[in-house]
């Protein structure tokens, strides 16, 4: 038996630390142990779901273990439908409260998924309680939409699924603070393979692939048509990168052995401590940063009518 004991704080880096030391074994029973998890973040949840889905598709036998005591983190994982995605721990000892626009349960993205519906729902969750954020909703929605469509395209090639989750966080001691987080993760072919298979670009390595993916006019699937219109322009990552830069947010793109991290105006590339076969997108925006961006744009506005 192999026991994969998940970290107390479940987020992307701690998850990868854990998985690097624990791999499931084919033909044996493997236990995913949630018993000591006491805090979870979207950046850990979507990748964990993607990797579990991949293991199941590869024929690994998996069992899930929970703590004998009730914990808030376990209830949270139930409420966001993490366990429902794998048909376990469906009995809940709490009343399902309304999400009140603060989160949207974990969304599974497969080849059949209707991303036209899922992306707006997630984007609305991220901006729902803050009318001012309608001004950047289109970029959030499009980034989610294009990320999900990439997952769908990869899912066409094999039985993989991706997952997406959006959550707003507040601070009790600071009512003005609000953080908006979304994570999309899949265990597909990754950005380097995707660009190499679909373009004539010469791509040196995974770091170069991430750089290209965040440049304008590189990617896109204009040949894929939805209702008579081209589906993806391929500017989703580039646009969200621009918004994150302008709003002093955080955008981490992980694929294969490389990571690209934008923190405000600063961009850093680094080798991943542990490789991720597939793609992970983590975006964090802050209310103050978004408001500052909108205020600055409005302050510079002069004309009522514009020609380009």
């Amino acid at each position: 038996m192999c026991i994969i004991k998940l970290p107390r704080q479940l987020e992307y880096d701690s998850l990868l630390d854990c998985l690097s030391n624990n791999s499931p074994l084919l033909g044996k029973e493997n236990v995913i142990d949630f018993s000591t998890v006491n805090f979870v973040k979207p950046s850990g949840i979507a990748p964990l779901a993607a990797i579990i889905n991949k293991w199941l598709n590869h024929g690994f036998k998996l069992a899930f273990k929970r703590s004998s005591e009730h914990t808030n983190s376990f209830a949270y994982l139930q409420r966001i439908d993490f366990f429902r995605a794998f048909d376990v721990f469906k009995e809940e000892n709490f009343l399902r409260h309304d999400s009140q626009g603060n989160f949207l349960p974990l969304q599974e993205i497969t080849y059949e998924s209707n991303t036209d519906e899922i992306a707006p729902k997630l984007a609305k969750t991220l901006t729902g309680n803050e009318p001012a954020f309608d001004y950047i909703r289109s970029e959030l929605q499009n980034c989610l939409y294009e990320s999900m469509n990439n997952i769908k395209d990869h899912a066409q090639l094999g039985p993989i699924a991706g997952y997406s989750l959006a959550q707003n966080f507040s601070r009790k001691n600071d009512p003005t603070y609000k953080e908006y987080v979304f994570t999309t993760a899949d265990a597909g072919r990754g950005i380097l393979n995707s660009l190499r298979e679909n373009s004539d670009l010469t791509i040196d390595n995974e770091t170069h692939a991430l750089d290209l993916a965040c440049q304008k006019s590189v990617s896109g699937s204009p040949g894929i048509i939805n209702d008579g219109y081209p589906r993806n322009m391929g500017e989703g990552l580039t646009s969200i990168d621009r918004i994150v830069e302008s709003t002093n947010g955080y955008f981490r793109l992980i694929s294969g052995n490389a990571e690209r991290i934008r923190c405000g105006k600063k961009v850093e590339y680094r080798a991943s401590k542990y490789p991720w076969q597939g793609t992970v997108v983590i975006v964090k925006l802050h209310k103050s940063g978004i408001q500052g961006y909108l205020d600055a744009l409005r302050a510079g506005r002069k004309e009522d009518e514009v020609r380009f």
Binding site: Q141, S217, T238, V306
Partner: protein
């Protein structure tokens, strides 16, 4: 003041995309749909085309790129001076600026490709 033909973007896209309410222009399909409307108007008249964005809160870079790409492909970028935008939210204006650069690169790519 120059005479122009006005398109109410929100109402026209609602009808074209068959949705109840459009307050953001997010995806490539809606950007392309707006491009089609504009090109049809440009081809049918010598007047300036006035795109009224009243009620539209935001536009994504992809939608803006798709919009300009359709115009650049079908009537050429030299026609964009005939398009007047009003009630344009600043963030949508940013997206349109950025989308125009991207569309021009896509029609004359120095080193890039579809991926």
């Amino acid at each position: 003041m120059t005479e122009s033909q006005t398109i109410n973007v929100r109402e026209t896209l609602q009808q074209k995309m068959r949705v109840e309410e459009i307050i953001t222009i997010s995806g490539t399909p809606s950007g392309t749909a707006l491009g089609i409307l504009t090109v049809d108007a440009l081809k049918s008249s010598d007047l300036d085309i006035h795109l009224d964005f009243d009620g539209i809160y935001s536009m994504s870079g992809s939608a803006a790129c798709a919009f300009w790409l359709y115009i650049g492909t079908n009537v050429g970028f030299e026609s964009i001076g005939k398009i007047v935008f009003s009630h344009l939210e600043p963030s949508a204006m940013e997206a349109l600026k950025y989308g125009l650069e991207s569309a021009k690169e896509r029609l004359n790519p120095p080193h890039k490709a579809v991926g």
